[in-house]
Symmetry: C2
Subunit: 552 residues, 2 copies
């Protein structure tokens, strides 16, 4: 018997799952189902759609290899079945069959599983390692729901043509795509264009549900949406927040209540990603708060603003650790920054321990000229001080370095690189400037005082590790440096190809060589928010021992 | 015309390639070919076989994504062709065709390429990520050589049945298998058994050529060999050394000059792997020498012996950094160890800088009880001191911690964990004791004095960070701890399953929890030699933010 076709509603359940926490994730699923039921009008059939691997969170990494996984999933899916009374639930989970593990999407209805689909396209590039764990599915999945044929796909499937085309060919009138799609700059627009094109080409509305939240280096930005058969984007869930967005469809699967997406500005999107990454790392790992070194420079000023926006001023402590090269301007600015945000602020000079080290090392260093050793020693005295406060108070050290520094190794291992997490690890210096201005403008638009003093943004950056030192003494100007880095790191261009873009040969040679030589530092760096399509985490896997010549 | 069948000789060219250094690797290839020609008797046809991806070294990681790779390979292969005058050369290299990259083995003869084979089985588990880069080949390759049919396979292929069976079915009378097979304990015996079984089952002699040398966390142990059609292992090249082993075959491909393998003892093999890993990291990265902290304990004593065996006593400096909890026994033993090995030895007390930190932090810490903060501070003062010496002298800090400590987090980040490389990172404490005795016995057998004082091996291990502290106050005895760790880390067993093996519930719960909580420390640890089938490097990819409960 063909079921009668009625009006239907689909809830895009965009939740902040925690990797490995199956019980916690089930609670989020249960609450979202209850909330969707409460929001839905009683005359409409309801489907609640969760993201990829929702039950275990994404990416579970080697937890997928634990032998008890399957037993845990069986138990958890029994609960999902119980939750499906009177509605339809779509959820992602890992599932083992005949010794092979699949990245599965399953559909439950009134206590019964009515469909399951194994992800066909398994990404094994950039930050993704799915072929380490999963076997690719081979079948298209279309299930019947309220008289409609609904196709099911998982994340990467949608970035290829055949899973969409084959779903349509198998009769799908609507396609569901569940995701764990991490943010990088420009990604949202890519998703919109991709799905809009699929929808138009196949005259097929698509429901796109994404995870939201931070998980180590990855931030999932949410922004779930629906695209109608003519390719228009509707009913977009908020970026960077948990959300439950109900979309109503008429009997012909036309969207009834959608509104066109209003995406955030690029800078707002980036800034909010940084805040979410920091917040979730702190909260999911249950740190009491954040401590960070405030130098009077722009990186630590922006990092402080992110920290406060992430977890509130009462849980953030800023420490200025002056030395003889610290300018009075830096002292003043650090104080202004801490005061503007209302955080606890301490001044702890490093001269006593620096002198103690140098005195103890006097014989060891005799006859050897001062060099970067003494600069690194300053940075390391600061690192040890922050870590002592961290240990004593249960506050996590938030690292303040940016991507330009991490790229060329202008950062001291065990010095300014100490910390549990890094906000700006994948943010180039030029973007640090832009984000600082953005945050000030945001404050101004809310009638608040300047967060980052103007002269911190405009004066030449300096590590203040030697008299009158400025960064650009040793490096090309950041506007040049960042472009070379982007061509080399994100673009994988050779030295010759970058020079051909119009940069000075000596700059390109020097910068790329510094990048190669600094791999060992990056390997010991804290994790930090991935912001680009090639961050310095799982995105870029370089040997330390490396004889490659960047040249041609 | 069928070529006449003559006696033939195959040179197993076991070389120490450097990742990325194509020119350097070509030089090694050129020298080995010249040496093989010189060693071969003029009446025998010669084939020289190199290891997997020999031209770029293994594992090249993301260097494989660089756009100039293909051009460089084309240039390099022209040189290989030139080197094949009068002989046959088998070599591994990455090769791009129609936008797909293959892990290729090629055969050259008299300037011409006569065969090429794309690896079919691409490992994407443990430390391997080959599916990130390569497309799997689909074809069997059998080429004619001196009237014989010779099959060609690459590394992982041989761990599966079908590439061997299909080579045989395609007419192969001899199978060549080129490898980049890293050492872990027990691996050599696995290789012997595997290839012996293949050979017997298919009545097919197999030539197994492996890379040798250290590349970041991996050590390739060499030990190339030939197995005859009855499954006997012959003509084994040395473990842990570059080697060029010529094997003569008669007209029926019976081995003429083989000798049965004499494998090293398990402890010798492990010890030599550690030495090779350290040596190649130092030499390939061009460090002037090694500096390490000598505590009087067994880990640093063994690490010192490894350092000296790796690069010689004149390039190693040991530093004892006493504090008020350092026993006089430790002071005496550290001196004995340094003297026994003849290395430079310094004593640099940490009291002055420790006191300077504590005084500066007095207000910050007021009202808070002493805890591990003060212990970590001692370790960090030592870390900063070692790094200052490292920076000033160009010596790399060799980290001294072991796998048991790294597992449960009994190590201070930025303290005793500082360093560029770690010798014992994948060596459990019980094995540290065994290796120490092994090294002393080796010295005794060579008529040399004891390297590690007996009481350093027998007295209870202590970090000496608090009065009368011993490790086993806070942890189960190492004999128990190491077993629990092995079940949890290598075996992936749940807490319940480990308890069922007969361990105390509170021990298992506590230890596994410590392992989970310490992931953030391991993420910032230096790379170190992988010794087991699950080291703490690319082998074990765990989330830091992790809600998994180890329980059932």
């Amino acid at each position: 018997m063909q079921p009668s076709i009625r009006q239907v509603s689909i809830a895009l359940a965009q939740a902040n799952f925690k990797v490995g926490d199956i019980d916690g994730n089930l609670e989020l699923i249960s609450s979202a189902i209850a909330a969707a039921k409460a929001k839905n009008s009683p005359d409409k059939a309801l489907m609640v759609v969760f993201s990829e691997l929702a039950l275990i969170g994404y990416p579970p990494e080697d937890l997928l290899l634990r032998p008890s996984l399957q037993h845990r999933m069986e138990t958890a899916l029994q609960q999902v079945a119980n939750l499906s009374a009177g509605i339809t639930v779509v959820v992602g989970y890992p599932w083992s069959e005949k010794g092979q593990l699949f990245n599965m999407a399953g559909v439950w209805q009134n206590g019964e599983q009515v469909a399951q689909y194994a992800k066909r396209c398994l990404p094994n590039f950039q930050v993704f390692d799915e072929q380490r764990y999963f076997t690719a599915g081979t079948e298209t999945c279309v299930f019947e729901w309220q008289g409609h044929q609904v196709g099911l796909t998982v994340c990467e499937d949608i970035w290829h043509e055949h899973p969409v085309a084959e779903s349509k060919a198998a009769g799908a009138e609507l396609l569901i795509n569940i995701n764990a799609s991490p943010f990088h700059s420009g990604k949202l627009q890519q998703r919109y264009e991709l799905l809009s094109n699929h929808a138009k080409r196949h005259q097929l509305p698509i429901v796109y549900v994404n995870q939201v939240g931070g998980q180590d280096e990855l931030v999932f930005d949410g922004a779930s949406f629906v695209v109608d058969a003519s390719g228009d984007i509707f009913a977009t869930a908020a970026e960077h927040e948990s959300a439950l967005t109900l979309v109503d469809f008429d009997e012909s699967l036309n969207i009834q209540n959608g509104q066109k997406a209003l995406a955030k500005s690029e800078l707002a999107s980036i800034y909010d990603t940084l805040v979410l990454g920091v917040r979730d790392y702190i909260e999911k790992n249950r740190f009491k708060g954040i401590v960070l070194g405030l130098s009077g420079g722009i990186d630590s000023a922006l990092t402080l603003a992110i920290a406060v926006d992430a977890i509130g001023k009462d849980r953030v402590e800023a420490v200025m650790m002056p030395f003889k090269y610290t300018s009075s301007m830096s002292m003043e600015d650090a104080k202004l920054e801490a005061d503007a945000l209302g955080v606890s602020y301490k001044i702890l000079p490093i001269e006593p321990m620096y002198d103690a080290f140098m005195l103890t090392l006097e014989d060891e260093f005799s006859g050897l000229a001062p060099d970067t050793t003494e600069e690194n020693l300053q940075a390391r005295c600061r690192g040890v001080m922050l870590m002592a406060i961290s240990n004593k108070k249960g506050f996590m050290v938030l690292t303040t370095g940016n991507k330009s520094e991490m790229a060329v190794g202008y950062a001291t291992l065990y010095g300014d690189m100490v910390g549990g997490y890094s906000a700006l690890k994948d943010v180039y210096k030029i973007l640090v400037f832009k984000l600082s201005r953005y945050r000030n403008e945001l404050a101004a638009s809310q009638g608040e005082a300047e967060i980052i003093p103007e002269r911190v943004i405009t004066r030449p950056p300096s590590a203040e590790l030697a008299p009158d030192q400025v960064d650009e003494d040793n490096l090309p100007p950041y506007a040049i440096l960042d472009q070379i880095l982007e061509y080399y790191i994100e673009g994988d261009l050779s030295v010759d190809a970058i020079i051909a873009k119009g940069f000075a040969s000596e700059d390109v040679t020097r910068v790329t060589r510094l990048v190669d030589l600094s791999e060992y530092k990056r390997r010991q760096a804290p994790v930090g928010v991935r912001m680009t399509a090639r961050g310095f985490g799982r995105d870029r896997r370089y040997p330390i021992t490396n004889g490659w010549k960047a040249g041609s």
